[in-house]
């Protein structure tokens, strides 16, 4: 999976984020995407090959693996990361639109310095504030949804060592053994913990933005 493209896109958004947003992005790249690519993919690499069932019945192993792992952890995490990063693209689009508008006004004769326009740091206020805040809100929603999906699909966050399977064509209830369950549990809990941290960061950022705008309004009225 090519995460470099995502890094390129999100790197641009980074410039217009709050400090907490920048920390979130760093945590995302180093503790989630990097761990996924460097470590987790290796751990889950042989998950089907080394899924062993106590039977000689052809096809039983395949069916049992498919029954217990409808979608692999790795793919679910990849989807989670993509969904969680996507709201930031909304912000990027809004910023691009704002710039485009300014350029248009410049072409229509208003005096705006074009160099300054390129490097201008766009402050989070007005409609951009709404876009930014809703992007954070959606991030939190996506994180929570995926955490629940993991819990629901795999009955908790621990990888079992032994699973009992009686799906057809297995002749009876067979014992199947998962490969590297301890290491997989370790990484599942690690990724869960980092998800939690990211969610906390997003909540903090949301609170910070809301409080900031409230204080601004208070100052205006007084």
């Amino acid at each position: 999976m090519d995460w470099g493209t995502l890094q390129a896109v999100l790197g641009g958004v980074n410039k217009h984020s709050t400090s907490i947003g920048k920390i979130w992005l760093t945590v995302l790249f180093i503790f989630r995407i990097m761990i996924l690519v460097v470590a987790a993919e290796r751990v889950w690499g042989d998950e089907q090959q080394d899924f062993v069932c106590n039977t000689l019945q052809p096809g039983c192993r395949n069916v049992c693996y498919d029954h217990f792992f409808p979608i692999s952890h790795i793919r679910l995490w990849a989807l989670q990361l993509i969904f969680v990063s996507t709201p930031a693209l909304l912000v990027a689009m809004h910023v691009a639109y704002t710039r485009h508008e300014k350029k248009r006004r410049f072409r229509n004769g208003e005096k705006i310095d074009i160099e300054e326009l390129k490097n201008e740091k766009i402050h989070i206020r007005g409609p951009l504030w709404w876009t930014y805040t809703s992007s954070i809100f959606f991030r939190i929603i996506f994180e929570a949804v995926f955490m629940y999906v993991f819990y629901y699909m795999y009955d908790g966050y621990q990888m079992p060592r032994l699973v009992k399977c009686d799906a057809w064509p297995c002749p009876n209830t067979v014992d199947c053994f998962v490969s590297r369950p301890t290491e997989k549990t370790t990484f599942t809990i690690f990724m869960l913990a980092v998800s939690g941290i990211c969610m906390m960061l997003n909540l903090a950022e949301l609170c910070y933005l809301v409080i900031k705008i409230c204080m601004k309004e208070c100052r205006k009225t007084t």
């Binding site: 503790f31 290796r42 053994f177």
Partner: protein, 370 residues
Amino acid sequence: MGEWSFLGDFLEKVHKHSTVVGKVWLTVLFIFRMLVLGTAAESSWGDEQSDFMCDTQQPGCENVCYDKAFPISHVRFWVLQIIFVSTPSLVYMGHAMHTVRMEEKRKMKEAELEAQEKKNGGDTYYQQKCSMAEKEAKLSGWDEAGGQIILRGSLLNTYVYSILIRTAMEVAFIVGQYVLYGIFLETLYICQRAPCPHPVNCYVSRPTEKNVFIVFMLAVAVLSLFLSLAELYHLGWKKAKERCSRSYKASPSTAPGRLESAPQAERAQMYTPPPDFNQCLSSPNGKFISPFSNKMASQQNTANFATERVHGQEDAAGEGPFIKSSYVESPEVASECAAPAFPENYFNEKRRFSKASRASSKARSDDLSV
């Protein structure tokens, strides 16, 4: 190595703003840990489970025995170790970037204020503001000419804490590795776990090659630990030496001459790390910050000083030392602002005030915030 680029890019920035020992530590991290892990160790551990053979036909026995023998693979353990050991540097980098950002904001505000002042036509006042701006630039830790961050104040504290945490992480992971696996891997592992019917012999794949890498990574971890400790010692020793020389030189006479020679020596030292507090301020005593944290007071004092110059030498007892402290960096300030003239006994009295101001050194951290 491409997979490590996410972390690598961040650490490149840290590399720019580290001390010499810090740079060596980062190089060791990049080359002896990341690169070796990514290229050599990964392929050595590639077949760790597929070639883990157990002397049994019982289905599932090999799986459970492998899981018992290696709760977490060495390679993944080292990946986590590298990430956790690098994290404190990222925190320091975050703080440094924050400082830079605050500095830029401060400069913008200064530029606005200067523009306003120029409009209002306050020339002398502008000069004084200019000198104060220079002082604040020095104190905030951002060197314009070199584009480097100078370690001082709360930034230095963050740096020291990051090294301490890094050291703790390093020790924790080395101890953790010892607790999990001991030092060497044995060829034979005897396993007794359901569904294995009895204790079975299991054979680890490539034990010698793995041992070579284990010893290598352990040695590099210990080397990194020593580098971190050396850096701590270097920072601590410099700080202690600084404090000693300050307390020694608080007593008379050489201050004016020292002020002249200090800037050159300090500038030469500016890009060699770690923080040489002498380079922060022209005086050996670095505690003049407290007046600056209150801009209004210093502005008032500069105005008073100007008035005093005009009206002759009236030494207002309360304000005298305060004014002198606010001007003490001026000789060192860059050329664009003309420094005001000093009375002869200025530096002597300043030194007396220096001793008193040491008590208010706590205000220093405020100076970095805008």
